[in-house]
């Protein structure tokens, strides 16, 4: 079992490499890739989820459904560091033929369980997977990772009701509550989105609020959820783009382009030494595009 300090170090490295991939791609979604990272690291590196990187299709693995599909750069980095793929593969984010799709796509990258991107669909799939585990009488659990803006999708609440109808104690949801969505703060876009936790309580879920960018709280929260009665949800309070200085709390970083200057600032924020100009320290496998190629 890794210590909290060790998990924090892994989360830092996963953030560094997610940002390197996002810089290479010159597009993508850093905000939630970073805000959700501690939860993903706790699941895959902290002994919470039962899984085997050498056998991504192991039948008895826990299923982790990234319903907030645009946070997938963070997941790729987390999975790569868990041993699902070489970290050097991250250089191919959003490039044709690499499998590192812009949104989560089942089967395109080892460990990615489910296609997502159109929001609000993962929780229903999680209910189906949790029912299937019960039908098979096995002990696998299902983790569904959602965003807070995603809670505006009505289908989430269809799924939430049915999870308690079938008393799915093997279903654990996490709402990455970074407070932002693509066109603004969630409190502005949908003022009555909050209190999210009370909405789940009204559907008879077990609910706990955590600081989702505090590894100790994340691990404790997930361990609580594994034992909670019925379906459980962690309302995981996070910061968009955590802990990058110019991203924190800014909805514009839901999606964004990292210039080289901003990339260097981000690496400084993460205490990651890189060269002054793009080279292999910016991304293993990176090759500068020549003028000839851009013609």
């Amino acid at each position: 079992m890794r210590s909290i300090n060790e998990l924090e170090a892994i989360a830092r490295q996963c953030r560094v490499d997610a940002l390197k991939a996002l810089w290479c791609a010159q597009s993508g979604h850093p905000g939630s890739s970073l805000s959700l990272m501690d939860v993903m690291v706790a699941l895959y590196h902290g002994g919470i989820a039962q899984h085997d990187p050498a056998h991504p299709d192991w039948e008895r693995r826990d299923r982790v459904i990234l319903s907030v599909g645009h946070a997938v750069p963070g997941l790729y980095s987390c999975l790569a560091h868990a041993g699902y793929a070489p970290v050097a593969k991250l250089v191919g984010l959003r490039q044709y033929g690499t499998g590192l799709e812009g949104h989560a796509k089942r089967g395109s990258f080892p460990g990615v369980e489910c296609s997502a991107g159109s929001l609000g669909q993962g929780l229903s799939i999680g209910v189906g997977l949790a029912l299937a585990a019960r039908l098979r009488s096995d002990d696998t659990r299902v983790f569904v990772l959602m965003s807070d803006g995603e809670q505006e999708e009505g289908s989430v609440w269809e799924a939430a009701m049915s999870a308690t109808k079938w008393d799915l104690g093997n279903l654990i949801a996490v709402v990455d509550k970074n407070g932002n969505q693509i066109n603004g703060p969630t409190s502005v876009v949908m003022p009555t989105l909050d209190p999210i936790g009370d909405k789940y309580k009204a559907s008879h879920w077990s609910v706990r609020e955590i600081n989702g960018n505090n590894m100790a709280q994340v691990v404790a929260g997930l361990n609580w959820a594994l034992k909670a009665a019925g379906p459980s949800v962690l309302i995981s309070h996070t910061e968009t783009g955590f802990p990058i200085s110019f991203m924190m709390g800014d909805y514009h970083w839901h999606h964004g382009v990292l210039t080289s200057e901003l990339f260097l600032t981000a690496m400084t924020d993460l205490n990651e030494p890189v060269s002054d100009d793009p080279d292999e320290t910016w991304m293993p496998g990176y090759q500068p595009v020549t003028q000839e190629e851009t013609k």
């Binding site: 299923r63 369980e113 489910c114 296609s115 997502a116 669909q121 229903s124 189906g128 289908s155 049915s162």
Partner: protein
């Protein structure tokens, strides 16, 4: 090798009327008893396809998601991910709201979920347009992995379900509400993508799907002294039986399609796509041109332009165009 149903396999003499949707439940139950992969997932309309008793007897294979079609599709996708073969069941009219979940949760995930849309077309006549499904075939035709099967009579239900279980792609099965003529003998030959020639003819190819195949059988017998119609039950709208359609049209040189569906996006569009690329001939499509209203099903057929008169007029039109 195309499968041709000789006329002897068709029997209209009984004149029996049976609701296609009611035939679903018993067949599904008999299959699900031995194949435990099969599960029914409904948006509170399992009773409409005769599955209520199955649900009580087999609670581990029957999941009522409530009036929540998106959730029904998502839960089905989750079950399919885990190796089950779900049938997601509701009225065809209520599937539209769930199509994004069909696209991503089933389609992008490459899952095998069969979807059953009961009350196809205007067969739920009196409930009115909110309960009419006139776009569903178009929805599923436009979803890359899906096959689309429109069941023609109660005796075709069993073979269609059995064929759908292990068909490599997800299948949309369209059923009908009101009792309609049973014209196939029990357990007729059936293959997804294999159309049945119900009557050979030489003047015009008439392509139908659903109960219209049965109605047309009656109508063309009445018209037989005036016009020789080759009638094809194209129960699979996707993938079309290209071989049988092209062979027929090459002989007749004219084609009419008829379906209980919006005239765009369904069987007529599928046949037009095929023929325009492979063998263009004069063609007329019979289908709804707008939303219907409430009314008794068999009266509505004429009102919305998919009854006997509309088909006969389309045949006259296409023959005059061919001779022009």
């Amino acid at each position: 090798m195309t499968m041709i149903t000789p006329a002897s396999d068709v029997d209209l003499t009984a004149g029996e009327l049976v609701a296609i949707r009611r035939a679903f439940g018993p067949v599904f139950e008999s299959l699900a008893e031995t194949d435990r992969r099969l599960v029914a997932v409904t948006a509170d309309l399992g009773g409409s396809v005769n599955l209520a008793g199955f649900g009580e007897r087999n609670p581990s294979q029957y999941f009522n998601c409530g009036v929540a079609e998106m959730n029904m599709i998502g839960i089905s996708a989750g079950l399919a991910m885990a190796g089950y073969v779900p049938y997601a069941i509701t009225f065809g009219s209520f599937l539209g709201r769930a199509m994004d979940h069909v696209r991503q949760s089933i389609g992008h995930n490459k899952l095998k979920v069969n979807i059953v849309g009961s009350h196809g077309g205007i067969s739920n006549g009196k409930d009115g347009p909110s309960a009419h499904a006139i776009e569903d075939v178009g929805f599923f035709r436009s979803m890359p992995p899906f096959a689309v099967v429109v069941v023609a009579d109660a005796n075709q239900v069993g073979p269609a379900i059995r064929a759908s279980v292990d068909y490599p792609n997800p299948v949309y099965l369209r059923l009908y509400r009101e009792p309609t003529p049973v014209f196939y003998k029990e357990n007729p030959p059936f293959g997804i993508g294999k159309a049945n020639v119900l009557r050979p003819g030489s003047d015009v190819t008439l392509v139908a799907c659903g109960p219209h195949a049965g109605y047309c059988l009656r109508w063309i017998d009445v018209w037989s002294k005036d016009v020789s119609v080759e009638l094809i039950d194209s129960h699979t709208v996707k993938p079309l039986d290209e071989e049988i359609l092209l062979e027929s049209v090459a002989r007749t040189g004219a084609v009419v399609t008829v379906e209980d569906h919006y005239v765009n996006g369904g069987l007529g569009s599928a046949v037009a796509e095929l023929l325009s690329e492979r063998y263009p001939v004069p063609m007329q499509r019979v289908g709804l041109t707008s939303y219907a209203t409430s009314g008794p099903y068999y009266e509505l057929l004429d009102h919305v332009g998919i009854g006997e008169r509309a088909v006969r007029e389309a045949i006259e039109t296409v023959l005059s165009r061919r001779h022009a």
